[in-house]
Symmetry: D2
Subunit: 196 residues, 4 copies
C-alpha cells in the first residue's frame, strides 16, 4: 500500500493547535475531535517509520515578516485580537507537539500560508526524493489539509487523506471538506488501509 515514491506529511501538529495550553484552546476552539485523532495519527506515523517512508513535518510560522496583507485586512475587519498569535517563531506554541516530535532523518518544512506548497520548498523536496504520492495527516481538515491536498493534486502528486488522521475544530466543516476532496482531489481512506 505504500511503495517507493510515497511521503507522509504531518501538517500543523504544533502546540498552538494541539495542546490545551496553546492559542487555539485559549481562544475557545474545540479540541475534542483534534485530540481524539492523535492516537490514529501516532499509529500511522509509527508504521511509516518502520517502513522507512519519507516523513515531512509541515509547520506554520507567523510573524511580522510573513504577515499577509489580505489576512491583515480580513482579520482587521473581523476585529480578531492579534495580541494572541499562532506559532510565532521561537515560541513554545510554535514547537511541534510532543507526540509528533521529529526524528533526525525527518524533514521540517516551514509554511506561512495554509497550503504547505505555497512559497515553500515542499515541491522541491518531494521531487528530489522522487515522491509522487503524498499522504496528509494533521490539522485542520477544512483549512490546511484541504488547501494542501488540492494544491498537491494540481501539482501532479497523487494525494491520500486518511480521514481518521485529520481533524478540525468543527465536525461539520471536517466532513464537508472530506466530501469535497473525495474523488476530485484526493482519495479519502481509513488509516487501516496502510496498516497490515
Amino acid at each position: 500500500m505504500w511503495g517507493r515514491g510515497t511521503a507522509l506529511i504531518l501538517i500543523d501538529l504544533q502546540n498552538d493547535f494541539c495542546h490545551v495550553s496553546g492559542t487555539a484552546s485559549k481562544r475557545g476552539k474545540n479540541l475534542t475531535d483534534v485530540q481524539s485523532a492523535f492516537k490514529n495519527m501516532v499509529r500511522l506515523v509509527n508504521v511509516a517509520r518502520k517502513e522507512n517512508i519519507s516523513i515531512i513535518h509541515a509547520i506554520s510560522e507567523h510573524s511580522i515578516w510573513s504577515q499577509s496583507p489580505s489576512g491583515k485586512e480580513r482579520f482587521g475587519r473581523q476585529e480578531q485580537k492579534d495580541t494572541l498569535s499562532y506559532c510565532q517563531p521561537g515560541t513554545w506554541g510554535a514547537n511541534i507537539y510532543r507526540p509528533f516530535e521529529p526524528k533526525p532523518n525527518e524533514k521540517i518544512v516551514i509554511k506561512h500560508r495554509y497550503s504547505a506548497f505555497l512559497h515553500t520548498n515542499l515541491e522541491l523536496i518531494l521531487r528530489a526524493s522522487q515522491v509522487n504520492h503524498i499522504i496528509l495527516l494533521g490539522l485542520y481538515t477544512n483549512v490546511c489539509i484541504d488547501s494542501t491536498a488540492r494544491e498537491g493534486y494540481m501539482r501532479d502528486f497523487n494525494v491520500t487523506v486518511p480521514y481518521d488522521c485529520v481533524a478540525s475544530d468543527n465536525k461539520q466543516k471536517h466532513e464537508y471538506a472530506l466530501y469535497l476532496l473525495q474523488g476530485t482531489f484526493a482519495d479519502i481512506v481509513h488509516s487501516s488501509t496502510f496498516i497490515k
Copy 2:
C-alpha cells in the same frame, strides 16, 4: 464597492461546461443551476464593464501537452472515458460561451489545472495592474472557484465570491464549498452588493 485595484475574473465559462451541446451536458452533468446563474453573471459583467473594472477570462485548455500524471492515474482508476474530453485547444467546446464573449480590452488567461493561479500568468497580470481584490464568478463553485479563491487569498489578494454568480452541477457541493470559503478564504456576498 469596487474601487481601483479590483478585477473581475470569469472562470471556465466555455461551451464544454455551459452549453447543452458541450461535454458536461453530454456526459450527463446537471446544468440546471449553472444555467440559472448565467443571467446574474451577465448582469454583473455588464456593471463591471460600465465601471471600467479589469475583466479577466480564465479558461481551461486540456491536451496531451498538459495532461497531469496524477489526473491520468485518477481518471484511469475511475475508468472514465477519455474519448470525450473537455476544452481541447482549437475546438468549439473550448470557446468562451457566447453570452460571455470577451471585449477587446479584456484579458484571457489559459489554465491547465483547476486553480487559475497555478502555472499561469494570472498573478503577474494582477500585480502589473495593481489589483489587490478579485471577484470570482463562473464554474464550478466546489472545484475551480474554490481552488482559485483559496490560492488567491493565500497569494495575498482579497477575494469576494458573489454566491449567485457561481454554480456547480451539484447543489450540495456548491453550498458546502461556499460554507467552507466564507470567513476563511473569501467574502461570500450577493452580487447586488456590487450593483447600485
Copy 3:
C-alpha cells in the same frame, strides 16, 4: 544524443527580434549574428522534427496587462521610447518568424518576462511530457537564453545550449553569457553533436 525525455525549446524567434522590419532592427540593433545563426537553428529544428523530439516555441508578448513595474521604472529612467514596443499581442511583430513556423503538433508557450519558466506553463508542460532535458536555441544569448537556462537548471532540468544556435545583438555579451553558463548551469556544445 537525444533520447526520450528531451525537448527542444525555441526562444523569441519572432518578427520583432528576427526580421529586418521588426522592432529590434528599427531601433538599430545589430542583426548580423542573429541572422547568421538562423540556418544552424533551422537545421537543428529539422533534425528534431525527424526524430520526433518535443518542440516548444516560447514567445514574448508585451502589453499593458503584463507591464512590469520594475521594467517600467528602468525603461523610464533610460528614457527609452515606448512608442515602438516589442511583440504586442496580435501584431505582425509578435508573430513567429517564418522559417520557424510551428507545426500543428508543436506547443506555443507565451511568456511576459525573459525567462520562459517564470509565470508560464512551461514547467507543467515539460513534466506532463516527462521531459528532464531541454535544449535551448534562439535569442538573445545573454538575456532570455541565459535566464531560461539558469531557471531550467535550478528547476532540475538538464540544460544544453548549442552555441551556434543562439545569438545576440552584441557578440561580446553572447560570449560572456556562454562562458558563465558553461559548467555551472548548462552544457555548451556545437549543434553537430545532435546531428548524425
Copy 4:
C-alpha cells in the same frame, strides 16, 4: 538613496564559502577577492542597520532532501567528490560567517538552489514588507548574485548590486556577470552611493 520599500539581502555569507577552513577554501577555491570585499559588505550592513532597512540573510542548505537531479547528473559527470559538501544543515560550515551574524530583528531565508527566490519564501516576505527594491550583496557574483538579481527583476523588484560588495572566486567571471547584469537586470553601483 534608500527610502522605504528597500531591503538589503545578504547571500551565502556562510563559513563554507567565506572562512579559510570552509569547504570552498579546502577545495582550493581562491578566497582573495571574497575576503577583500568583506569590509565593504560590513560597512554597508552597518549603515543599513542604522537606517532601519529590512535585512534578510539568504543562506544555502544542501542535503539529501534537496539534492537536485540535474545537479547530481552534472556533478557526477564532472567526477566532483561529494565527500566534502557545502552547507549541510546543522554543521559549522552552514553557519553564517561571524562578521555577518544576524541581529534578532533580521530574517533568515533558506534556499536550496542558486537563486534566493526559487522555492523559497523570499517573495512572500518582500511583499508582506511592501518592499519593491532589493540591494544584493555577498557571493558569488556570477552564480547566486546573478541568478537572484535576474529573478528578482523578473518578479518585478528593482534590483541594485553594489559591485564592491559582491565577489567571486574568479575575477573574470565576477566582471562578466556585472557587465551582463548592468542595464538589463540591475543597477550596478559603488556602495558609497548608499553611504552619506
